[in-house]
Symmetry: C2
DNA sequence: GCCTATAATGAGAATCATTATCAACCAGCG
DNA sequence: CGCTGGTTGATAATGATTCTCATTATAGGC
């Protein structure tokens, strides 16, 4: 599922930043897995190719450009994954034991219901709704 | 909406811990507001009556006993709210600007759909599902 | 009411993820 | 070639959270 790098390149160009080797590394690592990764996990996933401090900065740049999205988990750890316009809309299974996150998709009819609800909230006066995500807590296979 | 302290007292007793003044303070502060609060916010909400380090410990104890539940937000900040069996099932509006969280309830039919979905996931082999929460991102009235 | 074992507290140190800093580096361009 | 501005990496700084430990409060037994 190699996301056309062109789209990312364009987006970064619009943001006025370069698509350097280090940034490509991070993006490709994020594309390899099917759930969000933290800066430290990314550092490992890339075999230490990109230093931790650069991973953080790269993630900030990519988030700013709308290429990746953050997911806040237990222990104050923030994990990132490819933005929805690149990876498709999905939801999360979150392990309450180890914090691992797995992506899932909802059956179409339910998703439609959710979209409608979020739309209604948007219309409400006190909150301007954007995206949404269903977070299901539980225990993953390893922590069972 | 003063939750009968009795229930909390019992739960804590089962967990083998005391329901002390400091812990009552924290619980009553959490009951006063309608969204999750961080340790620092709780400390302020109580006018400094309970020192920050005690707030953290108290929250850990209450979470362990199942009286409160954590909500992980931006900037590595964890906010707590009364557990669902005490406060009722609900979902969250999360401000992407300031991180504030507001509670909402879903229309019954949609909630039923969600329950069914989560039940199905539970049946799946790789993940043992527990609770769930719909997180809607957006901008709150103040950050609009 | 008084004592004692044990849980709980408070102040500060320690930890860990994240962010900021800054000098060295690299790409494109005249 | 040498300049200019974005980029990098090592390290220091920050901020939330956790740990430590001496002190204090509490529930029972007397």
């Amino acid at each position: 599922m190699p996301v056309p790098d062109r789209q990312i390149e364009e987006r970064l160009a619009e943001a006025g930043v370069r698509y350097t080797a280090g940034r490509r590394h991070v993006v490709s690592a994020l594309e390899r897995v099917d759930g969000p990764l933290s800066a430290a996990e990314l550092h490992l996933e890339m075999g230490g190719a990109v230093p931790v401090s650069s991973v953080y900065r790269t993630l900030a740049v990519l988030e700013e450009a709308g290429v990746v999205e953050p997911h806040h988990g237990a222990r104050g750890i923030t994990r990132y994954e490819m933005a929805e316009w690149l990876a498709g809309h999905h939801h999360h299974l979150v392990c309450i034991e180890c914090g691992a996150v797995e992506d899932i998709e909802l059956p179409e009819p339910l998703e439609v219901e959710l979209e409608r609800l979020v739309g209604q909230l948007s219309a409400s006066a006190s909150f301007s709704a954007g995206g949404h995500s269903l977070e299901v807590d539980g225990r993953c296979a390893r922590c069972r």
